[in-house]
Amino acid sequence: MSIGHTLLGLLESGPRHGYDLKRAFDEKFGHDRPLHYGQVYSTMSRLLKNGLVEVDGIEAGGGPERKRYAITEAGITDVERWLATPEKPEPYLQSTLYTKVVLALLTRRDAGDILDTQRSEHLRSMRILTDRKRKGDLADQLICDHALFHLEADLRWLELTAARLDKLREAVTR
């Protein structure tokens, strides 16, 4: 999962301090693995260098966690591009897809679009596997079926998430 894009996405709804960003990330996406402060600073300094965020103010007392960051136009474009690009279908995608859906809801984008684009990308892989299966022997069929069922599992999760978008929107924007 891209921590940079996730932090940028969180910033899109308004400027935040470093510690506030970490807290928001941990609360929404860090259930099993909270961020270290070090990760936040190194990510923010990279985003600063690339012009995707800017420093919006510094609280007295110094320390990098006291800096307030705001997203730039270039940053918003970057988030937009990341959300619109489907993920390569591979195992254990859930956390990235979940993050994208939540960020789309937080930033009032169409989360259904993310689902449609991702479904399309998965189907592209599934068509290739189905074709290989059709032309292959039994061993090919079994191997392709294994991959197909995994891709299908991702999609079923996405469809279910789509059906719960309204509830999810309520929960994350509360």
Binding site: T117, R119, S120, H122, L123, R127, T130, L148, F149, L155
Partner: protein
């Protein structure tokens, strides 16, 4: 939206309401001969309504449907049903075979309705049953065959008139995955060999993977995923 040249069936800006419910809200569609297009999207989004409009079963409130250059919405009822009988084939979730007839009589039925002799109709029917690997069931009645077998008989019946467009609404919805895949394999093979177009409504990704491309219907609006990416 512009439709690619050479499309066999084109729908533009279809709208259909049922009382307070908007089933279609500006849906678009196009398909080429020999193409398999999956129609996906959440339950209640308008997939079946779109299929019924395309097939001339339901008349949209507005919008246009052109089949082979002819406007379907302005045809008379009898012209439309002639079109359905001669050019279209249908497979639904539950085979909808006539229980009193044997399987071969069921498959031959569309040809009989179009005026073929019994002998000629059953000979052609048996050819299609062989392709769908159910010719040994010819003497059985639908109540005496399994769900997967019955669905293959239904596919044979849909293809027996050599339709230009096959409309399939959740054709594997009542089958387990092995039977569902076999039906899809045989259905798409048969359609490709006759250059028929297939409009395939399904919510199952593994079934949609037999298509060439997919459109997604959400809240009565369609999205052509190929032209988005």
């Amino acid at each position: 939206m512009t439709h690619p040249a050479g499309s066999l069936l084109i729908a533009q800006d279809l709208r259909k309401t049922y009382g307070p419910t908007t089933a279609l809200d500006g849906a678009e569609f196009s398909i080429h001969p020999g193409e398999v297009v999956a129609v996906m999207g959440p339950s209640g989004s308008g997939k079946s309504t779109l299929l019924h409009c395309l097939a001339g079963i339901v008349t949209p409130d507005s919008g246009s449907i052109t089949y082979n250059g002819r406007e379907v919405t302005s045809m008379s009822d009898s012209e439309r049903s002639a079109l359905r009988r001669s050019e279209f084939g249908f497979v639904f979730q539950f085979g909808q075979l006539v229980p009193e007839l044997t399987c071969v009589e069921n498959v031959a039925l569309p040809l009989r309705l179009n005026g073929s002799s019994r002998k000629a109709a059953e000979r052609t029917a048996l050819g299609w049953m062989e392709r769908l690997e159910v010719d040994d069931l010819r003497k059985k009645r639908p109540g005496e065959v399994s769900g997967g077998q019955g669905q293959r008989v239904a596919v044979a019946r849909a293809l027996v008139t050599d339709p230009r467009v096959l409309f399939a609404d959740e054709p594997t919805g009542a089958l387990d995955s092995l039977n569902g895949e076999r039906v899809m394999e045989l259905l798409t093979e048969a359609a490709r060999s006759t250059n028929a177009a297939v409009v395939l409504v399904t919510h199952e990704a593994r079934v949609a993977a037999y298509s060439d491309r997919e459109i997604v219907v959400r809240d009565g609006r369609s999205r052509d995923m190929e032209r988005v990416v």
